[in-house]
Amino acid sequence: MPHFTKPAEGTWTGHYPELGTEPVSYADSISPEYYERERDAIFGRTWLNVGRVEQLPKRGSFLTKELDAARTSVIVVRGMDDEVRAFHNICRHRGNKLVWTDFPREETSGVCRNFTCKYHGWRYTLEGDLSFVQQEEEFFDLDKADYGLAPVQCEVWEGFIFVNLDPANTTPVREYLGELGKGLEGYPFHELTQVHRYRAEVGSNWKLFIDAFAEFYHAPVLHAKQAVADESAKLQGYGYEALAYGIDGPHGMVSSWGGMSPPKDLNMVKPIERVLRSGLFGPWDAPDIGLDELPPGINPARHKAWGTDSFVFFPNFMVLIWKPNWVLTYHYWPTSYNTHIFEGACYFAPPKSARERLAQELAVVTFKEYALQDGNTLEATQTMLESRTGVKQFPLNDQEILLRHLHHTVHNYVDDYERQAAR
């Protein structure tokens, strides 16, 4: 008997019949060949979030992003006209990586007036025009206008900067993000400028970590020790049910209850949480961020017990909106079929006091402790899936609908791309 209402079909999965209900195979997560297919079919042609506008606060602010899965590195820069642009991070002269610091494979950021290649001193404006060639007279009919930086499509949605590496792409990012994106518009992301960023190298396929964060069925079990013992037993007894799921095109979302910010009974939480009034669900005392009413896509069921929504924007960007006015983002950047870089960032309103700062610290550290457990569990999953034990089919329940949808979407993208390429 569900605690929360399911769609008329009786199940969330049944509401999206194209997903089916049969067991799935994770063959797409253990094969170098399949990963090669994903690189072109997915990372080479979908909108990828590479940062936020606050990371480029002034003219000349730039950052680089390593997009290993898409076989490139991009420079994202705010020009003299305040426009945010992106370019392939390659000098037009001999192909040297244009912007890097100390280690060519590491990302960098800063402020500059132009980009100068370390190799022969070719110089580019913030808008990507070639402005200086060392010993220009030695070249043969070189027209600088022909050798600007190679542009990459770049658009900003609600302060999030996206790039698309497919020059033939004609879908604006807002349209790509679909109904789930539109339902988030107007959320005051720009007020949440206190940012803590984390990064991990994880020994699993990128999809398996999205799978881990796209269901909360695991939470009462894997994270049992994070709660006080009585509470933990109770949570495991209840299990997990979402308030709502939503799927639109390649994107999905799950809406969850959140009785812990603050908890009904203080004895449910740990001593440090009681004193600092904070925990996994964030600081209990929500700051004013000018949010009179939630945008329609957040807490879509308008449930009183709502605590957090997780949006999975295909392929690798998650946004979690928490009731006490803070946000988490996750990114999963594949580096091979069984490794990826996981990035997590906590966004808060700037704290006004030591008490608020410590409450945020507790939320951040709690997130980190959970993520450490999740990350290592994934390596355990990856190694066994790769062992090819003969176990090839795995069941998924109704609370795991977003996993079913993610793998289904990946297969559709790869198949579509290859069908088009064959034409």
Partner: protein
Amino acid sequence: MTSAPIFPADFADLEPFAAFARPTERERYDHRIECSMAELQAFYDAAFPRIDAAVAYLDQYALDALPEDAQKLMWLFCALVTVSFPVEVWRQPRVPDAGASSFDEVAAPAI
């Protein structure tokens, strides 16, 4: 062997735990996993009852204009947050089942 006090005089009782007062979460976590449970417990037992006093003291100042001794005190109480997990939950310095995996702070607002 006495070193100069680093915390405000009201918090002289916490001077033995000065090594926990580190500026970033990454350094605080690194220190936590170098410590024994007895060391973590001793710090927790001394600092936990002092949270309210510390917060009241720190809140006299603007967060971005803490005097040096207050800043060190702020770092110490951030370290209490880091240490609360092994003491209150894990019963060991590392996150259980986290193996060799790491999850590192790469940027955070300075205190």
